[in-house]
Symmetry: C2
Subunit: 736 residues, 2 copies
């Protein structure tokens, strides 16, 4: 947890063990409902944030969370522009002049904030938990709750349950402790959208029992009326209003919120709903609306439900917070899983297309739709909370985003051979679904980024589909998609070698879609050659082995022992090929076979997660049927997980490849799980330090972007894949 | 017209007389369809612009209008960030390196533009016409057409006519003259949205006969297929693509457009449609959708119609351009009317509320809805092109945005008396309709800006309603609203004096809504006391006189000679009061009567436009029944329209008040019409210089904001009311 030690932890947040490294509280986190592709992003000091809808970056609203007593300055958390950084001292205590002209004041100007006293970072305690995020300073505690939990399939579930599950809202709690004062106190929670649109007070435009403000029809915050304790305001000078406690409502100021009154000698907590809404068709290519629009007619409707169901929603958030806090995860791990979960929900999007649910996870800052090499990493989280989403995405890959190709031997003249079924990299970008059989990403004649990922997405389909169908025991879908499973097996074989006797269980041919000069790449498209190239790639070889292991189980389940046996035989060949590449002298397996790339890569072991997920402990045992493979991979890990190879000597964090400084948090988390749980390798005394380094990367180097995947290993700087959902692979840690 | 003399005018734009002052081409202008509250704003060099929907400022898209021949650099108009200003020379000619990594390039970085050769300002000719805006440089001419004309009442008109009238689209023409070259040439027209959303190619998502790009579901540009001559592209490096002519389509670059091919020894013009679309409910308070959504299902539908009807739309634009060019207006006046018209349409908004048309003009950068003191200035334009819009707004004022008040004598203890009917300042802000009987602007206890404008809006209703009903001969509406006319008369009397014998025809009491310390203000809320205060105000006194003159005619039309006579008697008293204030020594009338404010103000004569509009030449004649008033006002103008009083000594422009540097273009245009046409005062030799000063203000000082109303008189700097519709008062000049 990102926590300061200056203050005692609030009683509701039991003390967690302290990490050895002092971390920062100055970083953005997503705060998002389920499936709204929306976030109330907050946490970077002095930078604002707030409501963002369909936005691949933090919004730029000024957020005001503050309090004052009569005659005191307004004390605020540093959540608006100019409220943070080194110049804080210059802000405090100068009361602004009164407005005596008709000139409309500009809230973006410094003069507006002269009446503020901003809490410096050292006086703020922050606690990012699994389903909440809290800031405490002075007498104020501000908490955003983002409750989440299991969601049933919206196409078949009870409508009442779905209605609550898809509610596009969060809750906030503002707690003001005035118990030591004889004066009344006022808290304020509100915002300035800063995009020219301004705000409106809700009581003016709705008959519902709501007080608060909205921005157009797109977002709003509101509380229930509570005598004089809760008042809507739309003032020119929030700080002045707070110091007098006199509510001001004017139609023109482009900022507003709730003025909350606390009696002397009293402590009070206010509950505020934060709602998002976007009506109508929001996508092109495939026309779809937000699923929540079935149940909610407008943003006020969302607020009303959020407040009516506030106690249930709070209990749900508290349950998740408690689960994580009570888990065996150390504080850094708890932070990393919480941070990743917040960002996963921020990219989640449940659409209604022609009356059917359409599941999307958007690709963070890139906003690509259902990028398949992310889908396979979201698998563990989605199987835990909403497994139907995996099936939903797989169906769309089967029905629209598949293709049949030819393959070519790029090392020998690019002669073309029969290929087979595979799937595209993604389904489009920025709410724009790409045409059938096309991704937005892949183009021919590339050797690096933007090339095809045919083999990788083929194994991703096999691994996701078999994991879904076997763990969820969805026999209907297994029956329905049996042809696809068979075709993926045939396609894997065709990509190995035309001559069945020469097949070694590893990809040998590239798709002919790569054109005259390109070659297939893996999801690690931004790393060096060690992970970029697909053919003969160690990482992909082990995933291919895992695919054959999984297909054997699927064919067994389909009652086809012949195919099951054929798949098992291919798994044997994959394993043998990988083992044959083991460098006995250096005690590792090179990243690419037979092509002079001898980088050391951690993702060698990534594929081992799938037999584990399918419950096949024999497949991952040093004493099982793949004993040699497992022994070789364990030794590979022992060899490379040392400083200067795959442990960065400067930061003490994990490097995916010994030859690249670009490392990926999602894959670190996944590989850590495999190393510890599947392979049973422990590195006592080092593990917590590694975790601490990784959480520091997120809190410091990646502070501008909420959860970030691509990181520079020596200093933790964000390199790409920012504002990203993928790091929920860390949910696997809960299985250890 | 803003025109450079380096080039000959294009043949389609006949030469206009040159003004004596060299003007700038470097300014923004709106380019807007009817009623979409949308604009493709363009014209500030080096700054971009493009599609803005419901936006009170220019959008920030990069717009690419360029061409190249094989091996030549790409030559572009300076319509993208970094393409303008002093550093132009640094841009040209360095080809960017090719992209060899998976890092997604950032089109906002300078490196992207190194291959461009940007036309410097001196090589560009611009011609802003009434319904078009053209830029010519090198072999390229780019023209945006914003056709407009009479629009019938959408509640009663033929649906087919309304469908075309409300089409939320513009046309563009890209003409490339390759007649002197033996090489093929390519033009490019496209954009980068720069808001993170990117673009999509249209052929991927629609079966319609369109090639082009769209941004989400909100805007798009497209042409009809034309063999290989028109191609959709979505490239990483537009400049590189242009230099090779090889179309590039990739899903990831967040920019795209049309690559247009011109054969050697050929000149070709391409027609491109520019479309806006916003579906669903867009307002709150009163829920409403865009009227065009009745007829168009999506942005592609809009494009399809725009291209199908392109010839009609071009003819309509050409007709308006010709009318203005053939008018008696000098080039500066033509520019001012054209510029104002472009900005008026940019703020126009036709909504569908519960199946009925709801007319809005938004208040430019402030985005207030149907601000009444703007409505009265849009009157002349709307009566010319869509008079039903005046009635539509007046009805909403009558049905929802009226109130009844008490009045108080603020000079004597604020004793309260019976007031009467009046209307609010505005109907809300930023698509957020305010509650019934409330504006977003007015609050109590103010003496300056944000106070109530009760008397001003009362006379505005009378003047708009009588002008509408008498010029349009809408007897049905006259009958329907007769009660309102009667109540406005009674309300005017109550605001004069409680004792009928003491009424002098001028406002004497303020509304009690002003509270304990406030007093009513006029629309000139940002000027000094000379125009700020309503009570005993010369400007408002003459408008009150005009209201009585108009009411007398309305009551005549209603067959109520008694009331007509009473109204006429009040007009006599107003006139007598104004005349009595004439300062014989200084030969002017002070701005505020009997309260020691002796500023000289031009708006003294503003009210004379209404009797003129109603055809009452007697009322505005020095020999008519108000001879003394007219004689006094004529002398007032002669006295003040001199340098150092109401002509700014530095700029040679008009100052509304001798004691303020804040002057307003809309009111200058209106007063100029009254001075020249109604009062018959001419200032030969000076008039063109004044017009030239005013157009220079818009092109230089207000360049960032399209048409701007509030201007600093000595240097033309924008002071407020930017991006503003109001200056269409200049349409009156066509009546001279």
């Amino acid at each position: 947890m990102a926590k300061r030690s200056q203050r005692k932890a609030p009683s509701s947040q039991a003390a967690a063990p302290q990490t050895t490294i002092e971390h920062s509280i100055d970083f953005y986190a997503h705060h998002s409902p389920f499936g709204a592709n929306a976030s109330f992003t907050l946490g970077r000091l002095g930078r604002g944030g707030g409501f963002g809808l369909d936005l691949g970056r933090p919004a730029e609203q000024d957020i005001f969370v503050a309090y004052a007593r009569k005659g005191e300055p307004a004390r605020a958390l540093p959540f608006f522009k100019g409220s943070g950084g080194a110049s804080l001292a210059a802000f405090a205590m100068t009361a602004p002049g009164t407005d005596t002209t008709a000139q409309i004041p500009d809230p973006t100007q410094d003069a507006f904030y002269r009446g503020w006293q901003i809490f410096p970072e050292a006086e703020i305690e922050r606690d990012l938990a699994w389903a909440s995020d809290s800031w405490a300073a002075g007498d104020l505690t501000f908490r955003i709750l983002s409750p989440f939990g299991p969601v049933a399939n919206p196409d078949t579930a009870d409508a009442a349950a779905t209605r609550l599950a898809v509610l596009p809202a969060l809750l906030a709690e503002i707690e003001l402790d005035n118990s030591a004062s004889d004066e009344p106190a006022w808290a304020f929670f509100g915002l300035a959208p800063n995009d020219g649109t301004g705000v409106r007070t809700l009581s003016h435009t709705t008959q519902r029992n709501l007080l608060g403000i909205a921005g157009e029809t797109r977002f709003a915050l509101a509380a229930r009326p509570d005598g004089d304790a809760v008042q809507e305001v739309q003032p020119w000078f929030i700080d002045q209003m707070l110091s007098t406690g006199k509510p001001e409502v004017h139609g023109l100021p482009k900022q507003g919120g709730l003025l909350l009154h606390v009696e002397p000698r009293t402590k009070k907590t206010f509950t505020v709903a934060l709602a998002f809404y976007r009506g109508g068709v929001v996508t092109s290519g495939i026309e779809a609306s937000y699923f929540y629009t079935r149940y909610y007619s407008c943003v006020e409707d969302v607020l009303d439900t959020a407040l009516a169901r506030a106690e249930e929603l709070k209990a749900l958030a508290a349950q998740r917070d408690r689960e994580l806090r009570d888990s065996k995860l150390n504080p850094s791990q708890q932070f990393l899983l919480a941070h990743a979960t917040h960002s996963y929900y921020g990219s989640s999007q449940l659409l209604d297309s022609g009356g059917r649910a359409l599941w999307v996870v958007n690709e963070g800052e890139y906003q690509m739709i259902n990028t398949f090499d992310l889908t396979v990493d979201h698998l563990y989280f989605e199987l835990r909370y909403h497994p139907w989403a995996v099936r939903n995405a797989l169906d769309l890959f089967c029905d629209r985003y598949f293709y049949y190709d030819e393959v070519q031997d790029v090392l020998r003249g690019r002669e073309k051979h029969t290929g087979g079924l595979s799937f595209v990299h993604d389904m489009g970008i920025c709410n724009q679904f790409s045409p059938p059989h096309c991704s937005s990403y892949e183009i021919p004649d590339r050797t690096g980024g933007f090339s095809f990922m045919t083999h990788e997405q083929l194994v991703n389909w096999v691994l996701c589909a078999s994991s879904y169908v076997l763990t969820q025991k969805d026999d209907g879908w297994l029956f329905e998609r049996q042809g696809t499973f068979r075709e993926t097996f045939r396609s894997l074989l065709h990509r190995d070698h035309t001559d069945p006797t020469k097949r070694n269980g590893v990809m040998g041919y590239d798709t002919a879609k790569c054109g005259k000069t390109g070659q297939e790449i893996t999801t690690y498209d931004s790393l060096d050659a060690s992970l970029g190239q697909s053919r003969n790639n160690l990482y992909l070889a082990v995933k291919t082995w895992a695919s054959y292991v999984a297909l054997a189980k699927v064919f067994d389940a389909l009652g086809d022992p012949e195919l099951a046996s054929a798949a098992s035989a291919m798994a044997d060949r994959s394993a043998a090929t990988v083992v044959s590449q083991f460098d006995k002298k250096e005690q590792f397996i090179p990243a690419v076979f037979n092509e002079n790339v001898d980088s050391r890569i951690i993702p060698a072991v990534e594929g081992l997660v799938f037999p584990w997920l399918l419950g096949d402990r024999d497949a991952t045992s040093e004493k099982g049927r793949y004993a040699e493979l497992i022994t070789a991979l364990k030794q590979h890990i022992r060899t490379i997980l040392v400083p200067g190879v795959c442990i960065d000597s400067e930061s003490n964090g994990w490097k995916m490849s010994s030859t690249s400084h670009n490392t990926w948090l999602s894959k670190i988390a996944l590989s850590q799980f495999v190393v510890r749980k599947v392979l049973g390798l422990r590195f006592r005394g080092q593990e917590e330090e590694w975790d601490s380094a990784h959480s520091q990367w997120q809190q410091v180097g990646c502070a501008d972007w909420a959860c970030t995947d691509q990181i520079r290993s020596y200093d933790g700087k964000d390199l790409g894949s920012r504002y990203y959902p993928r790091a929920v692979t860390s949910v696997l840690w809960l299985e250890e």
